[in-house]
């Protein structure tokens, strides 16, 4: 087994990917068995044993330990694989590396007329980007699994009372970890996939896991609505993804990313420029949906209806980053026009989301909008050609955003499910570990020097400035993120000051308590990573980041219009000044209260309401898309059915009327019934009649044959 693995070390990643799936399958089988045995637990000894072995009336805790163990093992394998990959990269030739770390097998053959057989493949391809991303996903997932054991502990009760939906239901501890494991499998599969089709399958799988987990408390109408919204909005993006895939399949005849890129790099690409632009826009539209970019960003803040560890894992650290990851993977497929679209989409998104985050008071919503904004930073970086910067920010962001979300989960649990920042305050004394680990997260995301966020954000701004200096008409792509860097510092420190500084403003905050160790340890670990994950030597040079240098080795070729840095480091200094002023403003408004926020709220007036209502995007979409669709649905229903009084309902069902769909269908049904009733008489039950008919039919058949043969 070990030699089999080490002969082709890339298979480590396959095993690491399948481990969460195995955990998911075990949990599923266990849960189903428990459900099957439940009705027979009194009458049948084997059923009784199985039922109580699998937890009995309460969900089984060991299911969570199993899932967490599988995830931890997966993370260990991922880190081992990363070390081994970096080791072999030093010593082996590119050909040997390819043999060791790339493998694929035929899944289905699709014949096309004339051309050679086209095949769908499944396979993996490990390069620096894959290895780093895989290690990040597996590691962050493990931390979040551990945290969830504490956070979801109330789901282990036999009867769990949902205070928001006002119902009592059995706890769903095992189900939560089942979904999480399925998600991790899908996400890891997405990361190692070597072809776009496999990416698409995983893409949909993570989408459906996200749907399950947002709707985890599906008895709450808001959660059910949010789950539907996330799923439907993502469908819009996925339609574009499918179009992109169709164009690529028809023009290249393969989904393999490496082959597509090498085909494009060759002198004679097998695709016209217009189609390549269309394919790029299609693929990017999928990424827009998944990564919650403008104009499909509206689902992500609503996704906060799910349990907080879900928000941390799926809607902050990993799944929403999949869009950015895919843009990075397929970077050479995007033509300069498409890259400009990517950059502007990112620019608009990061600014828009940050302005909304300034005024939100729900702790998770502030973080949700900050996630959207940070994803915008990554997209902008990729769009202006800052490949390393964008993906470095993806990795560093995953750590500090997971930290911030888990911190908010700890706060929410400590305050007995109070989420409104206005009712918090003073929590740093009652939950010091959460407060100071979150402070590290806030510092990292604001771009404080020497913390991980600083390195990546500085690189992004530097690349954006380089791009802006080269193309003066696009200078706005530097100004927007620069302003937003200040806003980021402001709203993150506003969150921290409102939650942790000052005196308690609510009953729940007064009685808050620190979370148990199973939740604080992941916070501390993530805080350590948030500080030092991007370090390099010298420490004060953002371009010396070791992680950045590793990513550079995965660059998809030099000839693809990568960004130039601004050579003067002025962007870094500007960003620092802007962020510091954002911090200063937050300190004055919410720390020392020298400036009264309520006065400024009154002065802002309509602007405040506008931001508070999220630029009215939900209302706009409601009026333009949702209501017409619902009206169309009702209209179609009216076409089908007319309102009839109950006593006439039976007559209406039998009315034959060729002018309406209902009438035509009635006619079909009545006709079938009529002929059925006639045909029924043929089954008389008399054997002699059957035999006579049989004989007559045989004779008739022979007669027909004779006539035909003699006739011809």
């Amino acid at each position: 087994m070990v030699s089999w693995l080490l002969a082709t070390p890339g298979r480590l990643y396959v095993v690491a990917t399948l481990l969460p799936l195995a955990a998911c399958a075990l949990l599923l089988v266990g849960g189903c068995l428990r459900g099957v045995c439940r009705p027979y637990r009194e009458s049948h000894p084997i059923a009784r044993f199985l039922y109580f072995f699998l937890g009995g009336h309460r969900p089984l805790r060991s299911g969570a330990y199993l899932a967490t163990g599988a995830m931890a093992l997966s993370a260990a394998l991922a880190i081992f694989g990363l070390v081994r990959y970096l080791d072999e990269y030093q010593t082996l030739s590119p050909l040997e590396m390819h043999q060791h770390w790339v493998e694929s097998t035929t899944w289905a053959k699709v014949e096309t007329s004339g051309a050679t057989a086209m095949t769908l493949e499944i396979g993996y391809r490990v390069d620096h980007l894959t290895a780093l991303m895989f290690a990040m996903v597996a590691f962050v997932s493990t931390m979040i699994f551990v945290f969830s054991i504490g956070y979801m502990a109330d789901e282990t009760e036999e009867l769990h009372e949902d205070h928001e939906a006002h119902i009592t239901r059995p706890g769903r501890f095992g189900r939560f970890f089942l979904y999480l494991s399925l998600f991790c499998f899908s996400m890891l599969n997405l990361v190692i996939a070597d072809n776009l089709f496999q990416v698409f399958i995983s893409w949909e799988l993570v989408g459906v896991c996200s749907f399950f987990l947002i709707g985890f408390y599906h008895e709450r109408p808001s959660a059910a609505f949010a789950a539907n919204k996330a799923f439907i909005v993502n469908r819009v993006g996925d339609a574009g993804f499918l179009i992109g895939l169709a164009i690529i399949w028809s023009q290249f005849g393969t989904f393999n990313i490496e082959r597509i890129i090498s085909d494009l790099a060759g002198g004679d690409p097998p695709i016209s420029h217009g189609l390549l632009v269309a394919a790029g826009i299609g693929l990017f539209l999928g990424c827009v949906g998944k990564s919650a970019q403008f104009p499909l960003h509206t689902w992500l803040p609503d996704a906060m209806e799910g349990p907080t560890p879900v928000s941390a894992l799926i809607h902050a650290a990993t799944m929403v980053a999949a869009g950015v990851y895919l843009v990075g993977r397929c970077f050479p497929i995007f033509t300069p026009e498409v890259r400009l679209i990517i950059a502007y989409t990112g620019g608009i998104t990061l600014f828009l989301a940050a302005t909304i985050a300034l005024v939100q008071t729900d702790i998770k919503r502030v973080l949700a909008y900050s996630t959207v904004s940070q994803l915008g930073f990554m997209m902008l970086a990729l769009g202006v050609g800052g490949w390393v910067a964008g993906l470095l920010h993806l990795l560093t962001h995953a750590f500090f955003k997971a930290l911030l979300f888990l911190g908010s989960g700890s706060v929410i649990l400590g305050c007995h499910h109070e989420q409104d920042l206005m009712n918090m305050g003073g929590l740093r004394r009652r939950m010091p570990v959460t407060a100071y680990t979150m402070l590290i997260g806030v510092l990292a995301i604001s771009g404080t020097p020497f913390l991980s966020g600083w390195y990546s954000k500085d690189m992004i701004l530097s690349n954006a400035m380089g791009f802006g200096l080269q193309n003066r008409e696009h200078m706005v792509l530097f100004i927007l993120p620069l302003l937003t860097a200040g806003m980021t510092a402001f709203y993150m420190f506003r969150l921290w000051f409102l939650a942790f500084a000052g005196e308690p403003r609510g009953l729940e905050a007064e009685h808050a308590h620190e979370s148990p160790g199973v939740m604080t340890v992941p916070l501390i670990v993530l805080a350590v990573f948030s500080v030092c994950v991007a370090w390099g030597w010298p420490l004060w040079d953002p371009h010396a980041s070791y992680l950045g240098h590793l990513l550079e080795k995965a660059l998809p070729g030099p000839a693809h219009g990568l960004a130039i840095d601004d050579s003067t480091h002025s962007s870094g200094w500007l960003a620092l000044v802007v962020a510091a002023s954002g911090f200063g403003l937050a300190l004055l408004m919410y720390g020392t209260r020298t400036i009264d926020p309520t006065v400024w709220k009154a002065r802002a007036g309509a602007l405040y309401t506008f931001l508070r209502e999220k630029w009215h995007f939900d209302e706009l979409y409601d009026a333009v898309f949702v209501r017409p669709a619902v009206a169309l649905g009702y209209g179609t229903a009216r076409f089908d059915k007319r309102a009839v009084p109950p006593e006439q309902a039976d007559a209406a069902d039998r009315a034959v009327n060729v002018s309406s769909l209902d009438g035509v269908l009635n006619a079909l049904g009545l006709g079938t019934m009529f002929f059925g009733a006639r045909l029924r008489g043929a089954q008389s039950g008399l054997i002699r009649r059957y035999v006579t008919v049989l004989m007559a039919a045989a004779v008739a058949l022979v007669a027909v044959l004779v006539v035909v043969y003699v006739g011809s």
Binding site: Q683, G685, L686, I687, R688, V691
Partner: protein, 104 residues
Amino acid sequence: MTELGLTPYLCLGAFLFACGLLCIATKRNAVGILMGVELVLNAANVNFVACARFVPSFALEGQVFALLVIVLAAGEAAIALAIILNFYNNHATVDVDRADELKG
């Protein structure tokens, strides 16, 4: 003694088949119908064996099929008798015209 040839055997087979079919179509007694079925099967058997004797390319197959039909007939008889017995237990008769509870 001269060879008779294939035709007389086929005529015998056809005669037996017609008798069997007539028996099935006219009898009301279930056992009678069963006997008719046996006649039909044996008519087929006569054809098989005769063909095995006179058609060279059919030599082996004809005999194998004849054996197969004999086994089939035995099995069929066993099942049919069991059905008839059960029918008799429920209806105190073997008149197949009475077996019309499921008619349309």
